[in-house]
Structures are given as structure tokens and as C-alpha cells.
């Protein structure tokens, strides 16, 4: 996170990580489509000829938020990493300074090993950057729910209960689950930053208010809590809203 008091500006970096071809860029493209035009910048994609991500994709989201201390600029930069194994060094570079991570897993059974390998890669890269995966807000998205030969809902639900991270199911090509993953992570990320940097006092902005404003600015007013709590697992009791905040 970059906090600029003088410019009343907070910049957050979110990274979409995952194995090759799991749909990270598709997530970002869908997110770009799903947010209001005035709050989004151009989607920067650095692709090769065969549509494989070469370096990263980046979508800047910018909106104003009114806090108790006045109006401020919130900047959320969403990145994807290149999934192919050969781009290991680029993944590590893009991961630098990430405030939160969406791990995009491929639901196909045949991809189980690649998902695990990519997750271990993520862990190793964070470690290399001097961070531990337990310190970084993380949500896991099972993408490609529309394909055959995938891990079933029941299986994912069971697995999700065993893990610590919130799990979302998605079909990024149709946009399903994309906002849920994004807001789920944004919520967790802001709360973590709030704990670490006491943003409530410094900025006069409570986490619930932040999330509600973000949702409204991105064209999804009133849906913040619903979107951010549409996950399974995440080591919370079923039915408890994640932030305890109210829908505005």
C-alpha cells in the first residue's frame, strides 16, 4: 500500500496469481467490463501472439471516497502474473508490494497438480520477497465452473471448510464470481491494512464504509456486503457476514 497524506491518496495493489491458462487475464477483462467506466482506467495487457500473458495485465481503478476527514482518492491497481513456468522471475517482480492476492485455480481435475504447483510457487516467491503467505490477504477462486471433468461443488465445499482461505467459484468468461472474488479480496485487504496502519483513525474511514463506497463507485451500490461475503470456507461460521457492516 502507498499512503500519501498530502495528496489524500491511498493506493492498493491486488495481484491475480495462478497456474498457466487458469483465467487470470479473463478475470481482469471481466472485471473491467463489470465496473463503471468513470472509475476505471484502460486495461493494460501485455500479451504475446497466442494470447498468453507475457509480463502482466494491469487494470487501474480510481475513485473518490468521502471520509470523516474529507474527500480522498482511492486507487486500486489490479495485476495478473504470467502463469507459464518460464516467467518465474516476472511473477516475482509483479508480486512485489502486493497487498492482497486472488489465487485463480483451474477447476478441471486434470489441473489439480498445476494448481498445487503454482500455489507452492506463490509461497516460495513471497518467501523470496521476505513475506509469508499467512501475512498476505488471500482468496482462492475455482474458475471454469462451466467445464466438464471438474472438481464438484461438494468436493470444493468440503475442501474449503478444511482451509483457512475464503473460496469462490467462478466462470470468468461469463463474469460469474468475478466481482465476488474481487470484493472478497478487497474487503480482506482493507481490513488487514486497517489493522496494520490504523486507517480508521488516520483517514477517518471505517472498513465497512470503505467497502460500501468502493462498491458504489464501481457501479454496484448497496451490494458490497453481499459481494464480499459470497464465499465458502475462510474459517468463519456459516452465515456470519465477513465485515459485520451494513449494506448502504
Amino acid at each position: 500500500m502507498q499512503l500519501n497524506f498530502a495528496a489524500r491518496e491511498v493506493a492498493i495493489k491486488l495481484v491475480y496469481y495462478g497456474p498457466a491458462l487458469s483465467g487470470k487475464t479473463t478475470n481482469l477483462k471481466a472485471l473491467h467490463q463489470l465496473v463503471q467506466e468513470k472509475s476505471r482506467g484502460r486495461l493494460m495487457t501485455l500479451e504475446t501472439k497466442d494470447d498468453r500473458t507475457l509480463f502482466f495485465d494491469m487494470l487501474p481503478l480510481v475513485f473518490k471516497a468521502d471520509s470523516e476527514h474529507g474527500s480522498m482518492n482511492l486507487r486500486v491497481k489490479v495485476f495478473t502474473v504470467p502463469g507459464q513456468v518460464v516467467h518465474a522471475s516476472t511473477r516475482r517482480l509483479v508480486l512485489q508490494g502486493a497487498d492482497g492476492i486472488v489465487f485463480v485455480a483451474d477447476s478441471q481435475l486434470a489441473e489439480t497438480e498445476n494448481n498445487a504447483a503454482s500455489f507452492l510457487d506463490l509461497r516460495a516467491n513471497l518467501k523470496e520477497l521476505g513475506r509469508s503467505i499467512s501475512q498476505v490477504p488471500l482468496v482462492i477462486q475455482f474458475n471454469k465452473r462451466d467445464l466438464p471433468n471438474i472438481r464438484t461443488d461438494v468436493e470444493i465445499d468440503e475442501l474449503a471448510q478444511r482451509g483457512k482461505e475464503p473460496v469462490m467459484k467462478a466462470c470468468a468468461v461469463t463474469g460469474e464470481g468475478v466481482l465476488e472474488s474481487f470484493f472478497g479480496l478487497l474487503d480482506r485487504t482493507w481490513k488487514r491494512l486497517d489493522e496494520e496502519h490504523d486507517l480508521k483513525d488516520k483517514l477517518g474511514l471505517r472498513p465497512e464504509a470503505f467497502l460500501a463506497m468502493a462498491a458504489a463507485s464501481l457501479g454496484h451500490a448497496g451490494q458490497a456486503t453481499a459481494l464480499a461475503s459470497a464465499f465458502i470456507g475462510g474459517a468463519r461460521m456459516p452465515g456470519t457476514p465477513p465485515s459485520g457492516g451494513t449494506v448502504r
Binding site: Q2, A11, M44, R75, K77, R92, L93, Q96, G97, G130
Partner: protein, 487 residues
């Protein structure tokens, strides 16, 4: 505020994967920008200025309006004009990013912001232009520049083309969009090249780290290897000393120096002596191996012929072969070629190979030692030409030791030269041996600049082919072979 440990030199990649504001000066080519503004000016007849966020003028394409010339002719007018232009430069275009700034002449400036990723990175100032409703010079003109010729100023002002606000808005929007697109494209190119650079650097760093680890491991292994050789050398030496006593005393016992022995006692002492000799052979082998490994074995190289050595080999192995019922054949065809070699070591090589061959050949089989002189044949540097000159000095002596025994599977053929290796551990029990012999053979042959390879002997059995370079070859092609005078 980025609470992150940067573990290595590529921490500065945050300038592209972080949120560093883009500077207009850095992402835009000034000459190209001026060219574009000039084309806009010639298309619409309105001056264009582009400023960066901190007020630096990046492009200035002004229209020379007659009215402006007239105003600037007077000193008051010049001062007032300068003040207007600098005010237009610094006026805030507000949240909408679009504002009109009026001039005292009745003309106006339109100021639009340039935004990128939600940040204001510069502004475009269009003008001066005459707003659509302007009919006659406003009173501010007479007030600011009282001495101005009213008729002239009216004529000149009316000559300026009138622009409707909507039309100007469209022009401004077009220019803004175009510039923002250029900024995006060049920022993208900037990010790509920067990240490419960082990725290469990061990969290089990772590789370098790995190389360093490998180098460390390598030197550690080398040190271990040296220690192993030292250990083998010391232990062999220390073992040999008491063993010499065992052999000596058992020999004396067998000879009856300490009194007569019963037949059974003589048998036992004979076994002790025999096993002692066997053990000594093994220890000597180990010693040779460690000397060869550590490079401390001295080869007494002298001019020699292979034939007499092979004769000796035959006579050494003959008793064993005869006992086993294996025919031993020497075919040296009067081979004559000068070698620079240690005759004793070469004898050891061929005794070893012949002994091995006999050991693995069943009764009724044949072991053949065959020697020939050959032109060096194909070589690694044949591509470089000169074969006609080099082949004659590349003469080699080729000695093959072939048997009709059990053979060695092709996959195992290279491993048999490893110390202590036997194709099948069960063969140790059946045929005896330590697996040391062949590794010593290989090292001695290589120390002479030669090679030893294994092939199959049809229909069954094994052929060991030892190729030794002639003395001439070792003198003339020193770069590829150990020098002949090595001691």
C-alpha cells in the same frame, strides 16, 4: 509505506509494478507532440499549448493573430497579454477538467486537463480564439490598453474566426483523447521494456545464485574426492605393512623354517598365504587407484613396442587359462609402432583385461589378444580440415582383448569402469574379484592419452578395445593428448 523487504537488486521494479505517477515529459516525444499540435493548429486555426503537471511547456504552437500583434505593439498591452497567458497556464481546470479563461481583448482560452490512471498529468491550452458571441471589442480592452486604435482593433478582432463552444469542446476532447491514447501506448511500451529488463536481470540473478551454489558444491565434492583418495592411499599403505608380515611368516611356516608341519597344517598355512596374497593384490589395486586419482602415480614412459609386452601377458595368464580349459590366442601380426609408454603399467592393463576375459569365459571358449597399427581415423577436429596432413601422425596401436564369455549388457558397458562396480553383484560370488581392475585399466590407459571401450563380441562375449597413440602422435598433437614426457 510499502512494508516489504527487498531481498535483492530488482526491488526497483516497483516503479512499473507499483503505483508511481506517470510524468508527461517521460512518456511523450516532444518533437512529435509539437508536430501534432501544429497540425491541429493548421486544421482549426487555434493555437495549442501543452503543459506538464508541474507547468513545464512541452509544446507551443501559437497563431499569430493580428489583434494580438496590435495589442503587443504597446507596452501596456504587452504586459497585460503576458499576464493573461501566464494566468491561462496556471488556471485550475477544476474537477471537470475543462474551463474557459477570458482575455481582456474579448478573446478566450479553453483549458482542458490531461488525465492518466485517475491522475492529472498535464493540461492543454487552446487559444486565443474568438467566442461565437463576440461582436465588438469589450470595454476591458480600452481600459487595459487605452491608447489602442479603436477602429483598427475592431477590424482586426472581427477578422478572427468565431468558434462555437460546442465545436471547441469537440476539438479539445479530440485532442485530449488522442494525447491520452498516446500516453497510454507509450506508458505501456515503457512498462514492457522496463519489465523485460528487470525480468532478465532477475533471471540472471537467480542463475548466478544457482551457479554459485553449484560451484560451492563442486569444490566441496572435489575436496571430498581428494580426501577419499588420501584416505585410500593411507589406509592401503597402513594395511600393507602388517599384511607383509602375515605373508612373510606364513611363507616361512610353509617352508618348515619353524619346524615340520603336518599335511593339514601345511594346507591351512597355504590358505593363509594364498588369501594374504589375494588381499595384498586388492590393497595394491586400491593404492594404484588412489595414486591415479590423485595424479601422484608416476609413469615411467619410455620408447617401447607393444608386442613383447603382449607376449609377457600371454605367458602370465596362460597357466590360469590352461587350468580353466580356455584357449588363449595372441595375434600381433608383427605389429611395429613406437609407443611412449610405461611398459610395466601397460602389462598390468593387458594382464588385467586378459585375466578378466579368462575369468568370464566358460571352459572351451577362446580369449584372443589382437594388436594392429591404425591411422588415427576420425577425430574431433576433422571439421577443421588438414586430415591429409594430420592422419599420418595420428597413428595408433589398437589392442583388442575379446572373449567368448557371458558378455556385458550395452547399458552397463560404461559403468564397468567405475571403481568397485560389477555388472551383477551375484557375479562377485561366482567369478570373484573386487571390481577395481577395470577402473585402474581405464585410468592407466587415459594417463597414456589412450582410450578403452567395450563392444559386444558376436555371437557372445565381450571385446575390450584399447587404443594407444603412437609416440609420434603424442609429440605432434600435444594439445589433445597428455604429453609423452609426463612423469
Amino acid at each position: 509505506m510499502t512494508a516489504q523487504k527487498s531481498t535483492h537488486g530488482s526491488g526497483n521494479a516497483l516503479d512499473v509494478v507499483g503505483d508511481v505517477p506517470v510524468r508527461l515529459e517521460e512518456v511523450i516525444d516532444r518533437e512529435a507532440l509539437v508536430e501534432m499540435c501544429r497540425s491541429m493548429q493548421s486544421l482549426f486555426g487555434i493555437g495549442v499549448r501543452v503543459y506538464s503537471a508541474d507547468g513545464a511547456l512541452l509544446a507551443n504552437v501559437a497563431s499569430d493573430l493580428d489583434i494580438c500583434g496590435l495589442v503587443n505593439d504597446s507596452s501596456q498591452g504587452r504586459v497585460a497579454c503576458g499576464a493573461t497567458v501566464s494566468a491561462a497556464k496556471s488556471v485550475d481546470p477544476g474537477d471537470d477538467g475543462d474551463v474557459v479563461h477570458a482575455c481582456f481583448t474579448g478573446l478566450a482560452y479553453r483549458i482542458v486537463s490531461l488525465d492518466y490512471e485517475g491522475r492529472r498529468i498535464g493540461r492543454i491550452v487552446l487559444g486565443p480564439y474568438a467566442p461565437a458571441g463576440l461582436r465588438e471589442p469589450p470595454e476591458t480592452l480600452a481600459r487595459t490598453v487605452p491608447k489602442l486604435d479603436v477602429i483598427q482593433s475592431t477590424t482586426r478582432l472581427s477578422a478572427v474566426a468565431r468558434v462555437k463552444p460546442e465545436a471547441l469542446g469537440r476539438i479539445a476532447h479530440h485532442l485530449k483523447t488522442t494525447l491520452e491514447l498516446i500516453i497510454f501506448s507509450s506508458h505501456k511500451a515503457y512498462v514492457t521494456s522496463k519489465l523485460h529488463l528487470y525480468s532478465v536481470r532477475e533471471s540472471y540473478r537467480a542463475l548466478e545464485e544457482k551457479t554459485q551454489r553449484l560451484e560451492q558444491a563442486h569444490s566441496k565434492l572435489k575436496e571430498l574426492d581428494r580426501l577419499k583418495s588420501d584416505f585410500l592411499g593411507t589406509v592401503s599403505h597402513e594395511l600393507r605393512t602388517p599384511l607383509t608380515s602375515i605373508i612373510g611368516y606364513s611363507e616361512m611356516l610353509a617352508e618348515g623354517i619353524a619346524g615340520p608341519l603336518s599335511k593339514e597344517q601345511a594346507d591351512f598355512v597355504g590358505t593363509i598365504h594364498g588369501k594374504g596374497e589375494q588381499l595384498l593384490g586388492l590393497i595394491m589395486g586400491l593404492l594404484d587407484l588412489s595414486k591415479l586419482d590423485s595424479g601422484t602415480m608416476s609413469l615411467r614412459q619410455a620408447s617401447m613396442q607393444i608386442a613383447p609386452t603382449l607376449q609377457e601377458v600371454i605367458s602370465t595368464v596362460a597357466p590360469v587359462a590352461k587350468k580353466k580349459g580356455v584357449e588363449l590366442v595372441l595375434d600381433d601380426d608383427g605389429v611395429a609402432c613406437e609407443l611412449a609408454a610405461d611398459a610395466e603399467r601397460l602389462r598390468q592393463v593387458f594382464v588385467n583385461l586378459a585375466d578378466n576375459a579368462v575369468k568370464f569365459t566358460p571352459k572351451g571358449g577362446t580369449v584372443t589378444i589382437r594388436a594392429r597399427v591404425a591411422d588415427g581415423g576420425a577425430s574431433d577436429d576433422d571439421d577443421e580440415g588438414g586430415a591429409v596432413l594430420l592422419a599420418p601422425v595420428r597413428r595408433v596401436v589398437v589392442v583388442t582383448v575379446s572373449d567368448t564369455g557371458i558378455g556385458i549388457p550395452s547399458a552397463e558397458r560404461n559403468k564397468v569402469f567405475d571403481a568397485f562396480y560389477q555388472v551383477d553383484s551375484s557375479s562377485t560370488r561366482e567369478y570373484g574379484g573386487t571390481g577395481l581392475g577395470l577402473s585402474i585399466v581405464k585410468r592407466i590407459v587415459e594417463a597414456h592419452g589412450g582410450t578403452v571401450v567395450i563392444s559386444a563380441n558376436e555371437p557372445g562375449g565381450t571385446v575390450f578395445t584399447v587404443t594407444l597413440p603412437s609416440a609420434q602422435a603424442r609429440r605432434t598433437l600435444p594439445s589433445r593428448l597428455p604429453p609423452a614426457d609426463r612423469t
